[in-house]
Symmetry: C2
Subunit: 196 residues, 2 copies
């Protein structure tokens, strides 16, 4: 095997491991990740996994980044053809609801499952989760701004509206996980009211 092949194989293993780790962490939390179980799940040796991720923290940060990629692909990218502003915002919200309902990760929203665990523990895992949260809020706020600029809505503060939308989506995710019905419809009713 050439050096290039080894690098390619290493990258493929890395992404196989982190993708599996995302699913595990959506249920067990990032703290519940174990080198041994992950290795068994993806058919590698424990040493092989440890060679790619020397510390558990590095594995956790890589898992958070992998979750972000899956999220962007499932929720954000499909809306890129939708006109920006109110239409894009509604498309993002519907995609998010589908993401939580489907669900893309077996334990539901990855950030909802892990932010509360890590928000009191300073370090690179918390930093990465927090950065992704800010980026999602900024994306929502940007579309509210575009909707205002296009005259589609009035009287809204973009940052405040993004905070509200994100809060509602997170609560709908909890409601879905608990088997309560109507969470997604509650989100739609409030957001329709906001954007009316």
């Amino acid at each position: 095997m050439t050096g290039d092949q080894r690098v390619t194989r290493g990258m493929r293993s890395r992404s196989t491991i982190t993708r599996r780790a995302v699913d595990v962490a959506s249920i067990e939390g990032l703290s519940g990740l174990s080198f041994g179980s992950l290795a068994a799940d993806v058919g590698l040796s424990k040493g092989g996994v440890a060679a790619l991720f020397p510390t558990k923290e590095q594995l956790q940060v890589a898992t958070v980044e992998s979750a972000r990629e899956v999220f962007l692909e499932a929720v954000v990218q499909p809306t890129s053809a939708v006109p920006s502003g109110a239409a894009r915002l509604k498309a993002l919200i519907e995609r998010w609801i589908a993401y939580a309902e489907a669900p893309l990760f077996p334990g539901g929203c990855f950030w909802a499952a892990n932010l509360p665990d890590f928000d009191s523990r300073p370090g690179p895992v918390r930093d990465s989760l927090a950065r992704q949260r800010r980026s999602w809020l900024a994306l929502l706020a940007e579309q509210v701004s575009q909707a205002i600029a296009a005259g589609e809505v009035t009287g809204l503060d973009p940052e405040l509206t993004a905070f509200q939308i994100d809060a509602l989506l997170n609560s709908a995710n909890i409601a879905m996980r608990l088997g309560e019905t109507g969470g997604a419809d509650k989100v739609r009713r409030v957001i329709d009211g906001l954007l009316a």
Copy 2:
């Protein structure tokens, strides 16, 4: 020691253990509770703790009930003298913000820290957390209904408004834990708008 004394001492130990467990679980999660650490923290033997809580699940459920008692005492009971309706609702919200800001538990909101962990795991711990969440939402909805009945607000759906308020408070808690500023003010601005 008489039988009565033994029962009293058992109850006191029970409540000492669960109160400590609430603090631990607000940071580490209910899954992070350990008989050994708790015993060391409260100065009992591990066997003494295990005698009071034969299974980890029983310890977790008792911890959830203990968290509820502390929450009621800190957030709900102080508002009982405030007139019901909009005033009581605002008092509950301010008490909740103080509860998350203070914070009453070292890891912030106990339910925010534990619901996402347990919402995908059917069983008595999830049932207890879910029941408490419904009870909090019902309390908020009841005060919205009272505000409507008193003519203090119009055009609100009590259940939907309770869902919104709870969602905003949870997001403010996450924002506070992450060191973001302005979360509590965002909640106040949205709620003032709703109750205007």
